[in-house]
Symmetry: C2
């Protein structure tokens, strides 16, 4: 156990320093590495395998709803970016500019896409002519670049991977429905695949996407009580359509502007998973995105027949699960610590006695509970344990939200709740004015996260000015 | 049929203008669109679906051999690019340079990756320490940028999508084996998935990848007799390892340099498929990469029960094939032309009489052959027809190579063969000197494509200088 212990001790505990714990896990679980490219990350095989599982399962959900994947250019000419006023104001300060191709200066600067609205608009203007061409439901998986000052792996980096959906519709109604539909796809995905509960809501005016009429978001809560925006869905109305002249002739042969949406999720979902489920021994992975769902460890592997049996069981399980057998000469203790660090949901131990009894020991990563399982019932039991583990992750995360949700009716109550219990979701009423929104932030430190769809009737007065409340807002510190 | 005819007539015939035919197909089959980003392409849903099918099947082959996917940064600092002398000389003239982040000039220029050797080297230097860490078999699917002067969709564009494998090994022998293994993976993939025969060989010294010890390639032949390099695999020896200090301690505890490979294929494979199999009615897609393998067309769709039956058959076939049913009000003629243009391998026609007879008519895209098939045997027959079509595409492409391969023993013979029969693969002996290589190009117009693994004994004299021959070279014009 010496090796294993040593390895685990090398992680900072999350109670001591949550930020350090996070980067320790990212590094020690082999998710990322740094490079000489400041602010960009190397996503290592284990981290990328998680992303591939997220991609595959999310992409299936998009396609089931009729979305098609495309690929737009990496670059956006400066003049194209400038076509929609709010959009360029929001993004121009944080883009990377290409000025030279080889040895020649370019006639016009190109920015590396921070998002691709402008390119999609130009393309849609090209290909949409009639109501028969609508809706267009496109999505793109790609890299984008935003020149952030401070960066952290997965959470905020100068380059990140994401998907961006861009759709155009004949009517505002259809576009609004699409905006909401995709927000629900994200929320369901977080629940079913990442075992992560989220709050669905609308962003306040001051927090909208650059160029959007309305921005919706899902907000998750991390172990440390900070919120993390896990996905956004925007309704654009016909703002971009007017700027880019995206028109179509309707059934009455009249020229109309299209109505538009965009929606995105990024590699930051991996950061959300780490900070939602991880513990002081490392990662804890939801079974549906675990590159290895079961690690098979031969115990007393030098005894005759043990390794052979472990490999046989592994082969058998591969038909149904993502399984790995570690037959290396590392100690059992080292292996325990290693696969705990990597968040492998189930550890299957198989020693001479187990083999004699036609059974094995299975240990759950999340709560270390041990199960003696007959080899005859292995597939059924593993399926059951993976499901239970996923549900337990969800329940614990939901409990964390419950424990850290503070319903407040005054600025003082907010201050007190945060001081006593630490960061969390503050639920408080709001009159709707930007002035009060700013003042809450100024006085308590927490900003508005969203106006949740699930409203509660906490009070009839704005928590800040005391005037008539418009909506309940969820406030919090955020990543 | 009027609509359909009109549509087909809109393509230039390949005999009239092959280049125009190619771009017509790219546009009319909805594969790509242009944008205001010069030299970059928009890959539309139908084109991207082909790329996804290529990706998925190639990725499976990589993973089956133990390769893992990773993601490296998009940018390379100028100083990192400069570490390997030959490499920077080869690439610096054609990279895009980022000079500003937001409003601030960068302390050091960053190039947008034209290829990622330097980033992989830096990462491997970081993570490889002992022989136990070897081999590392990494691959990356991403976009790269090369500032080309003249561009064509898929064949040569300033940004393209590709995969780049990068591996490090303990010995030269292992690395050489990997280089050859991956070339074979590419060749087998071209044969089995793209139904495209290729010649495997080694590039001459003057044609090597910047920084490589040896470059191997697969060369395909297009309809017009021009060669297309469809994939490359490089052996680096320890050149980069010395430049980037990539060392490991071997079993005897001695410090050694790693030995390295890289290999890549790109979206240009789609261009190769178009020009290998397409005809004057449009695309002809290999069944394994066809987004729609069977299009079901109801005939006399207004008659009762026809559309219902077509949808029922479609649903049933979806379990085994990629199928689409077109119930739109477009004429049958328009639909025939549309799905021929898009290269859908099989068209299934279902009308009232067919339904009465419990049968349907299936038409093969490649040769228009018609088959009356019982609905009871649909799955078996479709499987068989798809296989036969794939084999026929391969056979025709192989026949094209056979017809356009000219074995020559003198410069005059080369000139004559090209003048008489047009472009093709010229097989001729070579002494091994760069001087003769250049002179053949100068005198005949065709450059060396590769030194094929399958050598033929055409003569014992160099086709150029008449001195002792070293190897047979395949020469040709290339995309």
């Amino acid at each position: 156990m010496a090796d294993g212990k040593k390895m685990v001790e090398a992680i900072t505990s999350m109670e001591d320093d949550f930020a350090k714990w996070y980067t320790d896990v990212c590094k020690k679980a082999d998710l990322v590495d740094y490079s000489s490219v400041k602010g960009c990350m190397v996503i290592r095989p284990y981290g990328y395998a998680i992303w591939e599982l997220i991609q595959r399962q999310m992409d299936d959900r998009f396609k089931a709803l009729g979305h098609e994947n495309v690929y737009m250019p990496l670059f956006i000419p400066e003049s194209l970016l400038q076509k929609e006023k709010d959009h360029v104001e929001g993004f121009a300060p944080e883009v990377a500019w290409v000025t030279h191709g080889g040895n020649d200066p370019l006639p016009e600067r190109l920015c590396v896409r921070p998002t691709s609205e402008t390119l999609f608009c130009e393309h849609y203007a090209n290909i949409v002519h009639s109501y028969r061409d609508l809706p267009k439901l496109y999505n793109q998986w790609c890299n984008v670049v935003r020149w952030e000052k401070t960066t952290r792996p997965f959470l905020r980096s100068r380059e990140f991977l994401w998907q961006e959906g861009h759709t155009v519709h004949a009517t505002a109604q259809e576009a609004i429905e699409e905006t909401e539909r995709m927000l629900n796809v994200y929320a369901d995905f977080c629940r079913d695949v990442l075992n992560m509960p989220v709050i669905k809501g609308r962003k306040t005016e001051s927090d909208k996407f650059a160029g959007a009429e309305a921005t919706y978001a899902i907000e998750a809560l991390m172990h440390d009580g900070k919120a993390l925006q896990a996905g956004t869905s925007h309704y654009f109305g016909d703002g971009f359509a007017r700027a880019f002249n995206m028109t179509f002739t309707d059934k009455e042969n009249k020229l109309q502007y299209v109505h538009q949406t965009s929606w995105g999720t990024t590699t930051r979902l991996i950061g959300a998973v780490i900070m939602s489920h991880g513990d002081n021994d490392g990662l804890v992975l939801p079974p549906k995105i675990a590159p290895v769902q079961v690690v098979v460890l031969p115990i007393a592997a030098h005894k005759p027949g043990v390794i052979e049996k472990a490999l046989e069981v592994t082969d058998r399980l591969k038909a149904k699960f993502r399984v790995k057998c570690d037959t290396s000469e590392n100690s059992a203790g080292w292996k325990f610590a290693e696969y705990e660090m990597k968040g492998v949901p189930l550890r299957l131990e198989l020693g001479p006695k187990d083999i004699q009894n036609n059974s094995c020991v299975i240990v759950r990563r999340d709560n270390r509970q041990k199960y003696v399982v007959s080899l005859d019932e292995l597939e059924t039991e593993i399926s059951r344990l993976l499901d239970e583990l996923g549900q337990a992750l969800y329940d614990r995360a939901a409990q964390n939200i419950e424990n850290r949700t503070y319903r407040c009716t005054s600025i003082d109550e907010i201050k007190q709740a945060l001081a006593e219990h630490g960061d969390g979701f503050v639920k408080a009423m709001w009159c709707g004015s930007e002035e009060c929104e700013d003042k809450v932030k100024e006085l308590t430190g927490v900003g508005s996260r969203c106006i949740p769809f699930d409203q509660e009737d906490i009070s009839d007065k704005c928590v800040c000015c005391g005037k008539k409340a418009w909506k309940m807002v969820v406030w919090g510190n955020a990543y």
